[in-house]
């Protein structure tokens, strides 16, 4: 794993963006997340790793209250973004989700044009006063999503007609079009080929400048490549959380070591 340049990665920001304390998640009778406390830094890529079913995606979905859409899901504990409790009664999840964008496992562009895919979020949040404003936002988002050069000549073509990797970058561009502060990514590369994965990873590294990025991944190599902080989940518990370099070279918990050396998971 010496090609991963772990030592070059260090956390540039010390401000906590998201602070979760004693979070419990239940699916009906199943206790899916057990007492997880974690602090996610601003302008940092944080990776959640762990075997399937360990709760990393569930925890990620707590951060923008996507679990609200699941009837039987119950969340307890305290999750704060910039000090505000996002499960407070006064918080509207719709506003929260504009601030905390999300990219999903499978690229899911809307069955609309590329332009409308990006413009949808700004439109419903009223971020653009007129068409010209909207054009600017679309171009900026597509540039940040590192896909502008590939699609600038066919903004009216359907988003579903792009290749898998392009679709996923379109989805990332769509997520950042609403000017979020946090970007959640749920295994964004699991449906992509290695070349598209490399492009998306490069993009994630660039996004770190402006956003706090949380990425769930199955691939430990990916976690090592893109993240500065890593959290290892196992059976609903947060086993270990720390600098990516430390987790991969010198894990303190024997379970983490077993996982990253391939003995469990």
């Amino acid at each position: 794993m010496d090609d991963l340049r772990l030592t070059e990665r260090d956390v540039t920001s010390q401000d906590a963006k998201i602070a979760a304390k004693n979070v419990q998640v239940y699916y009906g009778d199943t206790h899916a997340i057990k007492d997880v406390s974690v602090e996610i830094k601003d302008k940092t890529v944080t990776a959640f790793i762990g075997p399937s079913g360990c709760g990393k995606s569930t925890f990620l979905r707590c951060l923008n209250r996507m679990n609200d859409t699941i009837d039987i899901c119950r969340v307890e504990g305290d999750i704060r973004i910039d000090g505000e409790d996002i499960y407070d009664k006064r918080i509207d999840p719709v506003q929260l989700r504009a601030k905390v964008g999300m990219v999903f496992q499978k690229p899911n562009p809307f069955p609309k044009s590329i332009y409308d895919n990006i413009a949808y979020g700004p439109r419903i949040h009223g971020l653009a006063k007129n068409k010209a404003d909207l054009d600017v936002i679309v171009e900026k988002s597509l540039r940040r999503g590192a896909i502008w050069d590939e699609v600038k000549d066919r903004l009216n073509a359907p988003g579903t007609g792009l290749s898998g990797g392009q679709q996923q970058r379109l989805c990332i561009a769509r997520a950042i079009a609403t000017e979020p502060e946090v970007l959640l990514m749920d295994e964004p590369c699991s449906a992509l080929d290695p070349i598209a994965t490399a492009q998306v990873e490069e993009l994630i590294d660039e996004l770190r400048e402006n956003y706090s990025v949380v990425i769930v991944t199955h691939s430990m190599q990916q976690a090592a490549r893109v993240s500065q902080k890593t959290a290892f989940f196992h059976l609903g518990n947060l086993v270990e959380y720390g600098e990516t370099g430390q987790i991969f070279t010198n894990p303190s918990d024997p379970r983490t070591e077993s996982y990253i050396t391939g003995r469990i998971g």
């Binding site: 996507m66 504009a98 999903f104 899911n108 562009p109 069955p111 419903i124």
Partner: protein
């Protein structure tokens, strides 16, 4: 070959490998059963097609005569005296009939047809000429005193004779037709005085009395069906779609919603006559809405169509991939925005198809109409005005067909078959629209 390779491998006591060139017993059995299954499938499809063809052929061959009728061309010059005389008599239409017979006789003589034609014979050959003439002159009094050429329908038995439904040897002498009349009919037919023409009365007309099959038309009941379908469309589509969106996207999953779901499925299976009796009890007896009105028919059919629309709409909403909902919620759309901006457009083709199929089902429904009085001889013709179309007594296409089929005069039988063709044309049109709409909406990725 197998043995040789085994020997080469040096494993003499290994189990004998079978050759792929030879099909073993087990595979043969599987292949046989597959062949049989394919044969069954083909036989089933062939049977279905056979019945479909028999149905189509019998409908078309029985129904086409309804679209043509035998007419008599005659020129009549009604004088004011004749008119006043006819109007002063007790049996007015028969006075008009005499005018017709006189004109007809004159025409035959002028045409050089040396026929010994009895007046009675002409009367039997001609249909309900008297009432048609009277109606014409009442509406157009200015035409009195000038020659007018009429195309009047011949008697329905003459009609049947000329289109081959009635054989000469089957004719029983009666006051309607005598066998000897047919010679004259043949001669008049050859001379071109009696001829076959497209029956616009059947398309445009209203129902007629039991003694006048020639004058019966389906037009008024097409209008009745149209107003009924308007009611069904404008009630069941919004109610059905709103109910399904709420149940599918917003309602919590609990015992109460489960109960509602089960009951909707049950309602879809309730026989339509039950809805008819419900309509009679609620809409007519309790709410005192007018009897035999398309409004009530539409309300009853709405109740019947709603479950179909709800079930098909929910199925098409369910078929929209959840990733689209996630994507919309993920960029901060509200639940309603995600449904209306993304889910509903994708479900649209399915919703439209379900709705049109539900409407087509309602269009062909007869049983509930029996109970709310939209069947039988509805004496009224066309409604006067749009609003009245909903509340004036009328019939509907399937009910009209039922009425005709139940009448004693066999001539109405043709009309029933013809009505079925018209009904099927409407149904096929609606299904075509459903297919076109589905294609159109699906193309928008």
């Amino acid at each position: 070959m197998t043995d040789a390779s085994m020997d080469a491998a040096g494993a003499p006591d290994a189990p004998k490998k079978s050759s792929l060139m030879k099909t073993d017993e087990h595979t043969k059995k599987r292949n046989r059963s597959e062949t049989w299954f394919r044969a069954y499938g083909l036989a089933a499809i062939a049977t279905g097609l056979f019945f479909l063809i028999v149905l189509a052929v019998s409908i078309v061959s029985n129904g086409l005569p309804a679209f043509t009728h035998t007419v008599v061309d005659v020129e009549i010059n009604m004088t004011q005296d004749q008119y006043d005389d006819a109007e002063s008599q007790l049996l007015k239409t028969s006075a008009y009939e005499k005018v017709f017979i006189a004109a007809m006789g004159a025409q035959l003589a002028a045409g050089g047809l040396e026929l010994e034609v009895d007046k009675k014979v002409l009367q039997r050959i001609a249909g309900k000429t008297g009432s048609i003439l009277r109606e014409f002159y009442k509406e157009n009094p200015d035409k009195i005193g000038t020659p007018v050429s009429f195309t009047l329908p011949a008697a329905s038995r003459v009609d049947q004779y000329l289109n081959g439904a009635l054989k000469r040897e089957d004719v029983q002498d009666s006051r309607f037709l005598e066998r000897a009349d047919l010679d004259i009919v043949d001669q008049l037919h050859e001379a071109g005085i009696i001829k076959s023409a497209f029956n616009w009365t059947f398309i445009q007309g209203t129902d007629s009395g039991v003694d006048n099959p020639g004058g019966a038309g389906i037009g008024a009941s097409v209008i009745g069906s149209f107003f009924m379908m308007l009611v069904v469309l404008f009630l069941s589509l919004p109610i059905g779609v709103a109910a399904s969106i709420y149940l599918e996207e917003f309602a919590p999953q609990n015992r109460f919603t489960d109960l509602i779901e089960v009951n909707i499925s049950n309602l879809a299976a309730v026989p339509s006559i039950v809805f008819g009796i419900l309509g009679l009890a609620v809409f007519i007896q309790f709410m005192h809405l007018p009897q035999s009105a398309p409004l009530v028919g539409g309300l009853v059919l709405t109740l019947m169509t709603l479950p179909t629309i709800i079930i098909s709409t929910r199925a098409s909403l369910k078929a929209v991939p959840p990733s689209i909902r996630d994507a919309a919620l993920g960029v901060g759309a509200s639940k309603m925005q995600s449904v209306f901006h993304h889910v509903l457009p994708l479900a649209m083709p399915g919703i439209l198809t379900g709705t049109i199929i539900g409407l087509a089902q309602a269009l062909g429904e007869t049983a509930p109409l029996l109970l709310i009085g939209m069947v039988g001889f509805v004496a009224r013709g066309y409604p006067d005005g749009f609003v009245n179309g909903f509340i004036e007594p009328n019939s509907a296409m399937p009910a009209q067909i039922y009425t005709w089929a139940a009448r004693a005069d066999v001539s109405f039988y043709d009309k029933a078959w013809g009505g079925i063709i018209i009904l099927l044309v409407f149904l096929l049109t609606m299904n075509t629209i459903a297919i076109i709409l589905r294609r159109r909406f699906e193309r928008r990725w």
